[in-house]
């Protein structure tokens, strides 16, 4: 009896095997499509951002294919759900690597998953370009790791200079979300602001998932700042602004480029009137590549508003396509081609990669005026 049971148990394993047999490796046919992998949190806590990845990448591929593909070869997307979980990300990375048709990967959303995947991509010599991973050490993992979004080092110090040098604010309050993104943003903002001569009168943080900020805001109100820097994504920023308004905290707000989105205004209304942010991309952006993206996005996804994450993903796909166009279907050459990209006209601004494969872009200064994101007159 025991023997029978054991065989049964082993059979369970055997039965489980075919399930995994998806990653077989066949040589790609000559004219087979070029596959670009996308890994993003389609489900899970960050699903709302994964959606921007999906739409941004889909749009980019549609536009490329409408123009006849890359060097005449059509492009296909392979979207995998990582749930922003590093364990999932590693498996997806391995799938992409073992699939010879995949010429490059866009993703992941958060740093934890992106970095876990980067450990796999880098030695396997497959390009990974993350639109949003903000961990300072991300691209240092290997030669094949790129970003399409600027790092918070650039962005936050840009904001700090704007606030202190240009606007002359001296008493700054800071709140940030305690994840890798928020920490880096806050550190760089404070460093530059202090260097420019401002005083940080309050420094508060909260962990992802917290929604009641009244205690921190009351503290900030008492510190009496003349500028309030919000180092969060838009959803938390909307809550912060409305709660601050209810508490009677009247102060100029400033946040990172990720705030440059319409739902912020829809959710927070007059509470975010006058908020400042830098921008890689925003809906009202009038630069031709940005406007083109906005129009096409709204054509393809009627009823949805584009978001900078979608634009960054769109750019990431296009950057990859650019690399493939120059180098052909050769993973290693694609990397070299990409690393050499200069003055690429992206939806999120004109982009050049530095030696660390981080992009450098010129930011726009924008502000909510009359309940709309507009170029800041200052």
């Amino acid at each position: 009896m025991t023997k029978k049971n054991l065989i049964a148990a082993l059979l369970v394993f055997a039965a489980a095997l075919p399930v995994f047999a998806g990653g077989g490796s066949e040589a790609p046919a000559q004219d087979s499509p070029i596959v670009i992998g996308v890994m993003a949190p389609i489900t899970g806590d960050n699903a709302e951002y994964g959606e921007f990845f999906r739409t941004g990448a889909t749009l980019a591929v549609k536009i490329i294919n409408d123009k006849g593909g890359i060097n005449g070869t059509p492009v296909e997307l392979l979207i995998e759900d990582s749930k922003s979980d590093p364990k999932e990300a590693v498996l997806i990375a391995q799938r992409f690597i073992s699939n010879p048709a995949v010429m490059g990967v866009v993703g992941d959303f958060n740093s934890t998953a992106s970095m876990a995947a980067a450990q796999i991509f880098s030695p396997a010599a497959l390009v990974q370009i993350s639109p949003t991973a903000s961990h300072p050490g991300f691209t240092a993992i290997g030669e094949y790791i790129f970003r399409s979004g600027t790092t918070q080092v650039h962005e936050a110090s840009f904001l700090a200079r704007w606030a202190v040098k240009d606007l002359g604010r001296k008493r700054i309050a800071v709140i940030y979300i305690n994840n890798d993104w928020g920490v880096v943003t806050q550190e760089n903002f404070i460093k530059t602001a202090k260097a420019e001569g401002a005083e940080i009168v309050a420094l508060e943080h909260f962990i992802p998932g917290d929604k009641d900020f009244t205690a921190s805001l009351t503290k900030i109100k008492n510190a009496n700042p003349d500028m309030f820097f919000v180092g969060t994504q838009w959803a938390d920023a909307a809550l912060l602004a409305t709660q601050a308004q209810k508490l009677g905290l009247k102060v100029d707000l400033m946040g990172a480029g990720t705030l440059a989105t319409d739902p912020l205004i829809q959710n927070a209304g007059m509470a975010v009137e006058g908020i400042r942010a830098n921008s890689q991309y925003f809906v009202g952006d009038t630069r031709p590549p940005s406007k083109f993206f906005t129009d096409e996005y709204q054509k393809m996804f009627p009823g949805r508003r584009p978001h900078s994450h979608a634009a960054l993903t769109y750019d990431a796909v296009n950057l990859l396509a650019e690399g493939i166009k120059t180098a052909g279907k050769d993973r290693a050459k694609i990397r070299d081609a990409m690393a050499g990209i200069k003055d690429f006209p992206g939806a999120t601004g004109t982009l050049t990669f530095d030696a660390e494969r981080n992009p450098f872009k010129v930011f726009a200064k924008i502000r909510v005026i009359d309940q709309k994101w507009q170029i800041s007159p200052e």
Partner: protein, 344 residues
């Protein structure tokens, strides 16, 4: 000689499994599948260790990811800050996890039922918050990166293959040792506590002590899994060890069959397998997952393997079951002798 061949036959299923898994990479030439197996392997370690607490001792801990995280952080911190290797980080991680388990278990294990469950949940939360807030040591939300790869004789673990072998060996070792242990006096004691705590204490069992031992032992194994995890993914951050992770481990155990030595294997293999197989239906996957758990509890509340026990060793020649024969599960002797019929 005869003794050796006997031992070989006896251990045939274990050797078979070892052979099967060791040769698997020969005919499954896909790094992806190997990585799936490594992930299953990590979960087998975690679920097996939780099985000691939830399955054999009958407690209901939902904070196991805390020890997993402590193992990972312990190992990662000593390896990155003191420049040690995986082989030194591993015992450190295990030690830290077990110390934490002892500190948590000592005052709380006299609690029963729901209260204990809540303590484990609360400590999971607190330990995660410590990872998040103790920036100088744990890197806060930035986590720890650049954790060294394990190496053997100067060869680094670059590809998934060596990780696969490492985790397979660890899994089989843990399962075989646990199987032996759970059939021994110690295991029987834990089972007695699960069945009836009060009767156990009236039979001379120091319930709190054994519960603590079970808890610490589980933490040691979870800590080892954590250390492996850290050196495999080479980047860790607090969010990987919150109690969603604990829930996954609990669910795997419930699926496979708590209190069953092979339950964790089946649970981990199926749940990771299902997740991978349903990748195409990503949107509905989690709903499906939950529904499966609910249906499972309604129709097979003891897990897939149920309450049946599986033997990892076979007895040969098979002992004829007579009234006075000794069953394999009690005596672990290799000799077959005639028992004195103690009474007629």
């Amino acid at each position: 000689m005869k003794k050796l061949s006997y031992a070989l036959i006896r251990c045939a299923p274990i050797l078979g499994a070892l052979l099967f898994f060791c040769t698997l990479p020969l005919y499954v030439r896909s790094d992806y599948i190997l990585r799936v197996f490594v992930q299953i392997g990590i979960y087998v370690l975690l679920t097996s260790s939780l099985n000691i607490v939830n399955g054999y001792t009958g407690l209901f801990s939902v904070g196991h990811a805390a020890f997993f995280g402590l193992g990972a952080y312990g190992s990662a911190i000593v390896c990155t800050k003191l420049n040690l290797s995986f082989w030194q980080g591993l015992p450190t991680g295990m030690l830290i996890a077990s110390l934490a388990a002892y500190v948590i278990a000592k005052p709380t294990l006299r609690l029963k039922g729901v209260f204990l469950t809540l303590v484990t949940m609360g400590s999971n939360m607190i330990i995660m918050l410590v990872f998040l807030n103790w920036d100088s040591l744990t890197g806060g939300s930035l986590g720890i990166m650049g954790i060294p790869m394990p190496e053997i004789f100067g060869t680094k673990f670059l590809r998934p293959l060596p990780y696969y072998y490492l985790i397979i060996v660890a899994d089989i070792l843990v399962i075989v040792l646990l199987d032996r242990l759970m059939r021994s006096r110690f295991g029987l004691t834990l089972k007695a506590i699960r069945e009836d705590e009060r009767a156990a204490s009236c039979n001379g069992i120091n319930v709190a002590r054994y519960k603590t031992m079970a808890f610490v032992m589980a933490a040691v194994i979870a800590g080892a899994a954590g250390s492996f995890y850290a050196h495999y993914y080479r980047y860790i951050s607090p969010e990987a060890f919150n109690f969603t992770e604990s829930f996954i481990i609990v669910t795997m155990l419930a699926f496979g069959g708590p209190g069953n030595i092979l339950g964790p294997v089946v649970g981990a293999a199926i749940l990771v397998g299902v997740t991978e197989a349903f990748r195409a239906f990503a949107d509905y996957r989690m709903v499906f997952y939950g529904t499966l758990l609910v249906l499972m509890m309604i129709f097979r509340s003891k897990g897939l393997l149920g309450g049946r026990e599986y033997s990892l060793t076979i007895t040969w020649p098979p002992v004829k079951k007579t009234v006075y024969s000794k069953g394999d599960r009690f005596l672990d002797t290799e000799k077959e002798e005639n028992d004195e019929p103690a009474a007629g």
